[in-house]
Symmetry: C2
Subunit: 533 residues, 2 copies
Amino acid sequence: PPTEPSAHDYLSRMGPVCHEKSVCLPEETQTNINLMDVFNFVDLLPAKNGEEPTMQFLLEIVEILTNYVRKTFDRSTKVLDFHHPHQLLEGMEGFNLELSDQPESLEQILVDCRDTLKYGVRTGHPRFFNQLSTGLDIVGLAGEWLTSTANTNMFTYEIAPVFVLMEQLTLKKMREIIGWPDGEGDGIFSPGGAISNMYSVMIARYKFFPEVKTKGMTAAPRLVLFTSEHSHYSIKKASAALGFGTENLILLNTDKRGRVIPADLEAKVIEAKQKGYVPMFVNATAGTTVYGAFDPINEIADICEKYNMWLHVDGAWGGGLLMSRKHRHKLNGVERANSVTWNPHKMMGVPLQCSAVLVRERGLLTGCNSMCAGYLFQPDKQYDITYDTGDKAIQCGRHVDIFKFWLMWKAKGTVGFEQHIDKCLDLSAYLYDKIKNREGFEMVFDGEHTNVCFWYTPPSLRSLPDGDERRERLHKVAPKIKAMMMESGTTMVGYQPQGNKVNFFRMVISNPAATRSDIDFLIEEIERLGHDL
Amino acid sequence: PPTEPSAHDYLSRMGPVCHEKSVCLPEETQTNINLMDVFNFVDLLPAKNGEEPTMQFLLEIVEILTNYVRKTFDRSTKVLDFHHPHQLLEGMEGFNLELSDQPESLEQILVDCRDTLKYGVRTGHPRFFNQLSTGLDIVGLAGEWLTSTANTNMFTYEIAPVFVLMEQLTLKKMREIIGWPDGEGDGIFSPGGAISNMYSVMIARYKFFPEVKTKGMTAAPRLVLFTSEHSHYSIKKASAALGFGTENLILLNTDKRGRVIPADLEAKVIEAKQKGYVPMFVNATAGTTVYGAFDPINEIADICEKYNMWLHVDGAWGGGLLMSRKHRHKLNGVERANSVTWNPHKMMGVPLQCSAVLVRERGLLTGCNSMCAGYLFQPDKQYDITYDTGDKAIQCGRHVDIFKFWLMWKAKGTVGFEQHIDKCLDLSAYLYDKIKNREGFEMVFDGEHTNVCFWYTPPSLRSLPDGDERRERLHKVAPKIKAMMMESGTTMVGYQPQGNKVNFFRMVISNPAATRSDIDFLIEEIERLGHDL
């Protein structure tokens, strides 16, 4: 047997319970077994006699995690402790990211876990506004812990009976909320909104040109897709990946609020047809990434019906508003869509990842993706195999994303999600009102979602006349403030340019922990950091 | 304020700490706040005064989960408690899967969690052999719990600094193990082997015909892909999705062990060229799904070089053998591949999901997928933005799959993975030797991986002469035994037909908990259940 790592190392990793070799031997000790196998085996598994140290290890992990959760919600802690890549790579106070051939002790593993959290970003912190997905719902977190403990796969009812049914019932509920009669249709949870959007393009193509599945894109005429110039870049990624080509994705003009102008869609459809191309797919966004704009779905649906095009609604960000009686009108017409992307992991505060694509017509998802793998989807199983979902997916194995969402829905009820949505929109109204007339702030638009976009102009720039110099200098303000924010670790908010607009802040509110005082803090922090720029 | 659910309901959910309204109010109570908001808020978050009940809830969840882990490894418990879909949908002993508008109590949430586990499948049970992914590594599980608590997204260094670096270092280590000089190249963790394989086809297309990204598949000649008739169906799914068409995926003949016959590849390449098509991509499988066959990579690589084709190695299942000095020769030539799929969540026992695609040439992954979204990948950030990985992906948001793997690697060292792999292969050799001459058992082939495929013939069929009747009856044996196995819940193993071979059992060993006694149990269970068929 190899001499390193020594059996002693393994022993010392496992604590006192394992010091007696005979105690640690698993049931099979017949042949060819060496000490390393035995102790490694004990390390891996709570075998009968190794149970206690293993459980002790898990409980120490839980201690680390619950401390982290407590601190995450404590406003006196930082959102992050920023370090540059080279600093972390060089090893912060003994935190060594490199992998080695020899095992570490379990004590060191616990230290690694603490360090991993220490140098990370607290996305659940009440002052973390950097992404569309923020917050840390405790029931959702419990759901994720259970999911990883169950460690199974969504592809068959056989090995995920409960989760498969939960997914089916939840998707039906979502379709009812969209407004499809009796919640009929189909759908699947996918690894994020980009993949959900990709599904929609694939299914649309299968609906109109099913022969592409077998013969490829050359079997179809030149197909054209349409989406807003403000839409998410995943539509462009799908056009490239699926073989349409990004040039065949036509970008639509928007109004001041970032909403698609329906007349522009119709004009571009007609233009494409005149060139002999086939307009096939329109994506209407419900809640654009930067502006939070809602495209006018009904007017777009009219055009889609007139020209026989597939209507997809990308509600990755705005779909959550369907849960609110007060705000769901912003998605009026969504029931006319052929497919909808809706990410509970964004506006509804479900932990990452949780994204659904919903399809109005049953059968398309399977027709499009089915390859009938014999080793997984045996037709001669003893149960009703229509519950096996794997052949609908472009994936084979599929992570269980449903449980945390289902559990949160149980815990909150539909009304709980509604309250959360309404509260976030109230907070964004509060922010808008707070800064629309505040000195040094300028709004980019008057929006409909929790996106509030604004420029902060430091005193030194305020007297400059409009023009290139002012624009160039203003363009540098947001990145500078953001960098200082991250260095000081007090709060985080996104920024970007858009079209001909120089860098501005994009505030988004989806964090259930956020209150008005956090909004106040953010604004004062921007003023504090930016005052002398 | 709405009257239902009453504030009292919310109060009663939260236990004694919350009975005093004033205690529960979060810091912001200024305006427009109603009781529902307050108590729902407390439910969601461990705000200062709601901290204790929330922590209590999390600890009760942990109690449920650790009990589940204990039982999972206890051979006296069942692998599953099988029920048909309609039974679970009707509600088992009060386990109600339906979602409702009103919230449930946290006590009921705990009951739901227990029921979810009760009616699920214990994929970590030492007698669960049903899938390529089995087992429950405790360090990996701890890693998943931490990952969900950190609840962040891989797309930028900004919000996942530690995880992004861990991914980078781990991918480099994997490339070193593949054998690429200095571990150079690129790669990404994706949501499963099917998506990793899809990446490989996309990248190959981008390498040879970059204009497809902008102009679509019609800009390229007719492209042809090659893969084994035994390869995973994800290659076919990719051909359909990416616009090649499944007819342009040519299936290659295999030998008795299920390995691609290189001469057949060359003949089919020549045939395709004669038709004017362009052979572009060859997938060689390292560890096929059913047979566990390793295609001869070196001979295939010779042909790929000769005809200028991309060589992908799908090592989703067999990639783990690269960690074993004893078994890695089965992948000889893998260093000549242009890309490799390797799923640590299969043979290496990492919790689901954990799949990597590795690419030899740097720059292709970004070139192929980059769309430069301004709101996420700002060029004017304060840190080195080459660490932002999001624009390499077809996803936007991307789940953190790296941490559990990194943590397991730390805990085991490379040697720990090697021991695990060697042990699994030893166990499969034990199984093979055990049944190759056993009455009633017939081997399908003599394999190289942990896949052991065999027929069990009940006594009543043994005297039947070879022929259609025997074949038809034998075809029904495995499904019947499997059904009885699931009803009794004692063990689980897969079965399927393959080509002209009727249903046979496919035993696979990746579960670190499995021992020889579990193998013995499986065989005796098959005999017990199948004896009177």
